[in-house]
Amino acid sequence: MYRIPEQNLDRLFSLTAEKSKLYIPADTAAGTAQFMPWKEGLKLTDAHNTVRSAKDFFFPQTENLVGFRVEGKSIEVIDVREETEDFVVFGVRACDVRSFSILDKVFLADPVDTYYKNRREHGTILSLACNMPEETCFCGTFGIDCAAPGGDVQMWQTDGWFYLEPLTEKGNAYIDTVSSLLEECGGEAAAECRRAIDAVKKKLPLAGLTTEGFGGDKMAELFDSEKWGELAEACLGCGTCTFVCPTCQCYDIRDFNTGHGISRFRCWDSCMYSDFTKMSAGQPRLTQLERFRQRFMHKLVYFPANNDGEFGCVGCGRCLSKCPISMNIVKVMKNLTEGDQ
């Protein structure tokens, strides 16, 4: 275990940024928190979490996949991939850290998505324990401990100090690069901080939410539930939940004529959109009910069915605070299992 006083945080950022790109959660002019490249004077946000999740680092909203030069009848393929630079992300919450392992199960499964893998290999994750979780937090439901957030280095902020514990080789390497600012210490203060967080966790309003009633073996009964109609009724069919979600990873591939050639890019897509499954030949999900159901079935049933029971949600609470009509996965889970024992 290592530690650094809070007042030296800027020096830590500065030293980190000398070696590689550094991102920290900070406030935008509008007061929304988001991960930003650190520069002199940028301060850590007071907000509990960022509006956009940390998935952007590995799976950006838009990225060029490949280019084409088209001349007459002939086409030339242009590989536009570049090796990613090393980067460090400071202050990732436990929920987002877990989301990476969920994304890994999709993008690193055979055949490997090399765009994702490239970024994943170059990123070092410094996680930060949640001293003051929000009422919308329910990571505990999915077995995530916000008091021990994981990643390459896990951190606690308490009594004017940041405590750092490296967990991986990448984490050790990071500690080496900034060791001149750190002092070695025992684990008591971090352990005390964990105990304090554990006490807070019990008081969270969603502490009692369980995954009972969900999972890969519940496909037929949940799909056929009569409650989807009522749940999806007010859904606007926007993509807010999808785009703020750290585990939503569906994407679209589109071509863009740059005027100098064709750029084929990938961008986030949402199963909530009406054209998501629309083909020239037909549309299997005709109304918002089917689209809405797909999103939640994917996280609560299909994903665990394909991934040894792991759910596709990390309980970060972003959809709870951002859905324009305040419909979200917690309401869906509660409603679907209402009356069950």
């Binding site: 007061g31 838009t62 003051m132 929000e134 969603l206 009522e230 606007l236 951002k322 309401k331």
Partner: protein, 324 residues
């Protein structure tokens, strides 16, 4: 107010005047209210709420619900009633199948603004005489409602309804000291470069979730140009920053003259982009060029942008490029 509304909705459902009620449904934390369709007095009794967090404008749901058999009751706050009137005017909603109940409103709260005051872990909120008491995981806090109102309520133009079949509570007045164009004037006084920087900064946060479009009562196209692959400009994400701007600018143009300034776009934006400013700029320009006009205020007048008169001002003459 909530109890009066529940009682009236139940009566109208029970006596068969209406077949369904569009209202607001309670959530888990007081502030997370969901628009909902209620079809029985039992459902109303169980879940219907009308609180300081019922900011959602229910009028757009009528596009779908008013096509169902029987009458649909909708509760409309003053600003919502303008959206409703505009939807009727545009033949998106059949007036005869709607039973519009006007409800009084003194402004709705924005939970994000409560959070911006440093309040974390909100478990419950109660309102009494304009004061919110917030019960959190980390202790109680009190806040004046006036300081945490939704933007649309902080700049409320009127508390008087445009149209209704029945009024519950007291009808309000126009807000005399409303200065909803203040920020627009501020933007107008900037240099083009400053203004460009301002909008680039704001719009760069856009995640193209389409919440603003999908919630907008003026956005009722069956197939939006941005969803139509055949349009050639269908986009789910910006391929470059130019497109990021264009989505919002095209949308603002398309609702110009029809936007009632209901403020839903800004309310729902997950990235807090002040989208209402684009619409208000158009409203202000229209007012200045063609005389004061409020979309949705009445069922008959033709909107200035679809009503050509030989006396119409030529915008490029009125505003010389770059000066204003």
């Amino acid at each position: 107010m909530q109890e009066i509304m529940k009682k009236r909705a139940s009566e109208l459902l029970l006596d068969g005047t209406v077949s369904r009620v569009i209202g607001w449904k309670a959530g888990d934390f007081v502030y997370d209210i969901t628009p909902a369709v209620f079809e029985s007095a039992e459902e109303i009794e169980k879940d219907f709420v009308y609180t300081a967090f019922c900011g959602a404008n229910l009028s757009k749901y009528l596009v779908k619900e008013s096509k169902k058999p029987g009458k649909t009751l909708v509760f409309l706050k003053p600003c919502d009633s303008y959206s409703f009137a505009q939807l009727v005017k545009e033949h998106r909603v059949n007036r005869d199948s709607v039973y519009a109940v006007a409800v009084e409103c003194r402004g709705k709260a924005d939970v994000d603004k409560i959070r911006d005051c440093g309040v974390k872990g909100i478990c419950g909120i109660s309102e009494e005489n304009g004061t919110l008491t917030v019960d959190t995981v980390y202790g109680d806090k009190t806040l004046p409602l006036s300081e945490v109102m939704l933007e649309k309520c902080a700049s409320c133009k009127t508390r008087k309804h445009a149209v209704y079949d029945e009024l519950l509570g007291e009808e309000g007045e126009e807000v005399a000291d409303c200065d909803r164009f203040g920020k627009v004037r501020e933007l107008e006084s900037m240099t083009p470069e400053e203004r460009y920087e301002f909008w680039r900064g704001e719009l760069s946060r856009c995640i193209r979730c389409n919440a603003c479009r999908n919630v907008c009562p003026a956005c009722t196209c069956e197939k939006c140009v941005f969803d139509n692959d055949n349009s050639g400009i269908a986009q789910k994400a910006a391929a470059d920053s130019f497109e990021e701007n264009m989505f919002h600018i095209i949308r603002a143009f398309h609702v110009a003259g029809r936007c009632t300034d209901c403020g839903e776009c800004t309310r729902v934006c997950p990235q807090k982009i002040p989208l209402h400013l684009l619409n208000r700029k158009f409203i202000k320009d229209i007012n200045e060029l063609y005389g004061d006009y409020q979309a949705g205020a009445d069922p008959d007048t033709r909107p200035p942008l679809t009503d050509f008169r030989t006396t119409d001002a030529e915008p490029s003459i009125v505003y010389r490029r770059g000066e204003k």
